[in-house]
């Protein structure tokens, strides 16, 4: 909740969903073959009606089912053609929103894990964590040899942005973490390589290639948004609301989807 009792994340998701629902439907209108989509949908409906109209004739029913499968493929082909044009910008937009809406900052006084994955067991045994003032480890490091992982349980005294350092193979690697509340841009993991995964889940610079650390992760709690009496993951709420907005827009604008 915001300072005035307003559910800011929910408002953001609702607003974005409505705008994206409208924009995407309009983009769909101009990037798709509306006439062909209309025909394809009508054919589908016709084959569905045939199932009911000729239900006593099993060969007709089976033939109609086959045609439904083929017609569905055709319809999907037409509907996904515009998707090719919008999928990349929309995914990058969703990824950026996910930075703010996907997780919550760790609250001060609440312990959390910092996990480092190395590319060899020896390096993981030698790794150490250097914490800035305000952060403290609450337990010894836990090694998971089978995963080449090492984890520390940490707690923060007060809200703020911190840089933690990992010492490995005589080198130091940093990771940003946020303690506090509200909407903040978060990066739950810093990665070495893995370009696409980094684009999707990390907002920090890549770790150097010639070092033993594969990833440094902070265990932020997942954010849930209260809306309509339910707790939602933001992407599901976005899914439902943008569909509803799209449906409304398509009906008003007479767009065939």
């Amino acid at each position: 909740m915001g300072t005035l009792g307003v559910n800011v994340p929910a408002l953001i998701v609702v607003g974005i969903s409505l705008v994206i629902g409208l924009v995407m439907v309009v983009v769909f209108r101009y990037t798709s073959d509306q006439k062909e989509i209309h025909i394809a949908k009508d054919r589908l409906k016709a084959h569905l009606l045939a199932l009911r109209l000729f239900q006593d004739q099993i060969p007709v029913v089976l033939r109609s089912y086959g045609r439904i499968v083929v017609a569905t493929g055709g319809y999907l082909r037409l509907a996904f053609k515009p998707l090719l044009l919008v999928i990349l910008p929309l995914i990058f937009l969703i990824v950026q929103l996910d930075r703010y809406l996907g997780w919550m900052p760790v609250e001060a006084g609440h312990p959390f894990l910092i996990t480092v994955r190395m590319d060899n067991l020896k390096a993981s045994n030698e790794a150490s964590l250097q914490l800035p003032d305000g952060l403290a480890a609450t337990a010894p490091a836990v090694h998971v040899p089978s995963e080449n992982e090492i984890a520390w349980r940490v707690v923060a005294e007060k809200p703020g942005q911190y840089i933690v350092n990992i010492q490995a193979s005589d080198e130091t690697f940093s990771k940003r973490l946020v303690i506090g509340a509200g909407l903040q841009r978060l990066s739950p993991v810093r990665l070495r390589g893995k370009f696409w995964e980094r684009i999707l889940v990390s907002s920090e610079a890549a770790l150097p290639e010639n070092n033993p650390i594969e990833s440094i992760a902070v265990q932020y709690p997942a954010r849930s948004i209260a809306f309509a009496g339910l707790e939602w993951n933001w992407i599901w709420l976005f899914f439902v609301l943008s569909l509803a907005a799209g449906f409304l827009s398509k009906s008003i604008l007479g767009i065939e989807i």
């Binding site: 994206i20 629902g21 995407m24 439907v25 983009v27 769909f28 025909i39 009508d42 054919r43 589908l44 409906k45 016709a46 569905l48 009606l49 045939a50 199932l51 009911r52 109209l53 239900q55 006593d56 004739q57 099993i58 060969p59 007709v60 029913v61 089976l62 109609s64 089912y65 439904i68 499968v69 569905t72 319809y75 999907l76 509907a79 996904f80 515009p82 998707l83 090719l84 919008v86 999928i87 990349l88 929309l90 995914i91 969703i94 996910d98 696409w196 995964e197 999707l200 992407i235 599901w236 976005f238 899914f239 943008s242 569909l243 907005a245 799209g246 449906f247 398509k250 007479g254 989807i257």
Partner: protein, 712 residues
């Protein structure tokens, strides 16, 4: 060529790279990230929903099938138990003429019909009294004479006011309504009552478990429930409730009305664009005040003899001489009160004047406001499968050609567009009806012969100006087209299928008009009010107190009978019989003084040609006009003129509403039929017998003897 290969390689690499990027994004992202907007969301959801519903229904149909069969057996619906055939296909070619058919077969133009005649049967098929489509097709489907099915003409007369009404169906407003000030809120839909009596033979077949697909057989509106699918044909009204009201939108200021079937609507110029409207049904909220609903449209002339049209939210471009596709139009009277129709626009002229012809607004088959099929979903199914199609009973706009709003080419284009739709429906029905009955009637044969007979004759009054070498061979082409259709159907049948090609009547020239009301007037049977020498339409200025007989419609002649007609003066019984005898004697052989030929070759007493519970609704006499003659346009509309005989100058130049003995229909069959004089009334009992059903006792027709084997 090297540079081309290089470019191709680069393009291919780019394409592969794009696909790879997309694949990586989709594969690497969380499932929720793969959601890319409502478009994709709808597509995925609706596709899976469709597949789910289809799968569920297929499984249901598959597992329910044995139980349905068992249920049938329990209800003694033993399909095909004693059937001689597995499937019957009846192609109805309205008005196909046996003499023309023989002529074209002899000329080698109809190879498939020739094959049917050679290996199966070809006979003239006796038609009904009178030989009018709604009468004959009603007899075809019920197997009874008109005295039992109650259809004697397109029109019947209201005994209380001598005015006509449609004989096949009655459409009234809702039973109850709610009046608020000047507005009337209808509570419920319109009431539709079928006037045809008798039971179509596909009802008996359905009862026995034989599936039937019936397409556009006339007088099947409103559609009746039975075990099968049916699309109504002739007599389905347009959205205005008429039998077809076209609209000519024009910038010309001429204001005279069309005599038949059309309205003239002004086009207003507004700078470089033009505005007009399509008139629709009456506003249901203004309770009979006559206010019509409208759909506005705009025309934006472009270069190159073409114009952009905007109708509601739809936009399309037409060149002069082009038809649009079917355009959906919605006539809205307010929230919750709208009527859905479809119509086609034809750009006649852009300069110097602008003229647009609009077809009658057909009931939208995809969103029917009146039931036009059984089940209701059948018309929707066909609309979804093939797109919108004409639903109006008389879909080919003969009035527009008669009134010279359309020319020959435009009319033919309209006819064959409808015909192509009908062919698609037929072949879909054939595919869906591998066992059972498939009956489909094609109207094109009737309409084209009505309108183009003038080119078949050397001296037809309606084509005297057209040199012989410039006359198109429209009717020959029509028959050839129908023959090709038969050929394609023959390619789909096996030896357990009966294929029958029937027509309800033949055709003859309509060169001379006979105004029977004028004859009745001049011979003292029909009196006009004092000082009048002619009447208006529908007996305006007729003095009923001195009128003994009158005619309206195409063949019926009525006595002004006391106790039956509102102002009847003839006593039923011996007076009426004597008058009928007198009229028969005088009219039979009535000679046209211009040619010396008999304008009337037979007058038939309905008491002797009809039998059944509805004979009282029949005309008293049926007038059989001679070859080349027909009731005049005025006489049909209850108008008395000075001339009894006159030339028919209209494009409607062929007809069949004459002496039934002159216009038999055709019967082709892929089986040998031994009967020498088959009649259209025999079709129903024959089909019932072939499917092994007992014949209902009230049928008038007799089943033919059909040889079991076939070699199509």
């Amino acid at each position: 060529m090297k540079w081309r290969e290089t470019i191709f390689r680069v393009e291919r690499r780019r394409l592969l790279a794009c696909l790879a990027v997309l694949g990586i994004v989709l594969l690497h992202s969380l499932p929720s990230h793969a959601y890319a907007g409502p478009g994709a969301g709808f597509a995925v959801l609706s596709s899976f929903w469709t597949l789910f519903v289809a799968f569920f229904y297929s499984v249901y149909a598959f597992f329910a099938w044995p139980f349905r069969q068992l249920f049938r057996l329990l209800r003694r619906r033993k399909a095909y138990g004693k059937a001689q055939i597995k499937r019957a296909i009846i192609l109805g070619f309205d008005g196909m003429d046996p003499e023309l058919t023989e002529r074209f077969i002899a000329e080698g133009k109809l190879p498939n019909l020739a094959k049917l005649r050679e290996r199966g049967t070809f006979r003239k098929l006796q038609t009904t009294f009178p030989p009018i489509s709604p009468v004959a097709w009603s007899t075809f489907m019920t197997g009874v004479n008109p005295g039992k099915h109650n259809i004697y003409d397109f029109l019947a007369r209201d005994l209380s006011n001598y005015l006509p009404y449609l004989s096949s169906a009655e459409i009234k407003g809702p039973k109850r309504s709610w009046k608020i000030g000047k507005y009337t809120i209808p509570l419920g839909g319109p009431r539709i009552k079928g006037m045809r009596r008798g039971i179509p033979f596909w009802h008996w077949l359905g009862e026995a478990g034989v599936f039937c697909s019936v397409i556009r057989v006339p007088v099947t509106f409103p559609p009746e429930k039975f075990s099968g699918v049916l699309l109504s044909g002739m007599c389905v009204p347009d959205l205005k409730g008429s039998q077809g009201t076209f609209c000519l939108c024009t910038t010309r200021s001429r204001g005279d009305k069309f005599r038949e079937g059309g309205v003239r609507i002004p086009i207003e110029r507004n700078g470089s664009s033009c505005r007009s409207y399509v008139p629709g049904p009456e506003n249901p909220l203004t309770g009979g005040s006559g206010d019509e609903l409208r759909v506005n449209f705009e025309i934006h002339p472009d270069k190159g003899n073409q114009a952009r049209f905007t109708v509601d939210s739809q936009r399309f471009t037409l060149k002069v001489g082009d038809y649009s596709e079917w355009v959906p139009v919605r006539f809205s009277a307010g929230v919750g009160f709208s009527a859905h129709g479809i119509c086609r626009f034809y750009l006649k002229e852009l300069s110097p004047e602008v003229e647009v012809y609009v077809t009658p607004v057909n009931i939208d088959p995809g969103r029917p406001d009146l039931p036009i099929s059984h089940p209701v979903t059948y018309s929707i199914y066909l609309a979804k499968l093939f797109g919108p199609y004409a639903t109006l009973g008389l879909a080919e706009d003969t009035w527009a050609l008669n009134e010279e709003v359309l020319d020959d080419q435009a009319f033919l284009a309209q006819c064959y567009a409808n015909h192509d739709d009908r062919e698609r429906m037929l072949f879909d029905a054939l595919e869906k009806t591998s066992q059972g009955l498939c009956a489909c009637v094609f109207d094109t044969t009737d309409r084209v012969q009505h309108m183009f007979w003038r080119y078949l004759e050397d001296d037809h009054p309606a084509a005297r100006d057209v040199p012989r070498d410039q006359r198109p061979s429209v009717i020959q082409d029509l028959y050839s087209r129908m023959d090709k259709l038969i050929g394609r159907v023959m390619g789909q049948i096996d030896d357990k299928t009966l294929l029958m090609v029937v027509s309800d009547h033949g055709f003859k020239s309509f060169a001379r008009c006979v105004n029977l009301n004028a004859w009745l007037h001049q011979n003292g049977y029909l009196a006009l009010k004092s000082g009048k020498t002619e009447s208006g339409d529908w007996f305006d200025d007729v003095d009923w107190s001195r009128t003994r007989a009158y005619t309206m419609g195409l063949n019926g002649l009525y006595l002004n009978l006391k106790g039956r007609e509102r102002e009847g003066i003839i006593e039923a019984g011996s007076d009426a019989d004597a008058l009928k005898d007198e009229l028969r004697r005088k009219l039979d052989g009535l000679v046209d003084p211009a040619s010396g030929r008999a304008g009337i070759t037979g007058v038939f007493d309905c008491d002797s040609v009809y039998a059944g519970p509805y004979v009282d609704n029949a005309p008293d006499l049926i007038v059989g006009y001679g070859d080349g003659f027909r009731a005049s346009w005025d006489s049909v509309m209850g108008k008395v003129t000075r001339q009894i005989f006159e030339d028919n100058l209209k494009a409607w130049s062929g007809d069949h509403c004459i002496d039934p003995r002159l216009v038999p229909g055709v019967l082709f069959c892929n089986h040998k039929i031994s009967d020498e004089k088959p009649a259209i009334v025999d079709v129903a009992p024959t089909v019932l017998k072939l499917f092994g059903l007992a014949l209902p006792g009230h049928l008038d027709g007799k089943p033919w003897t059909v040889a079991p084997s076939t070699t199509p």
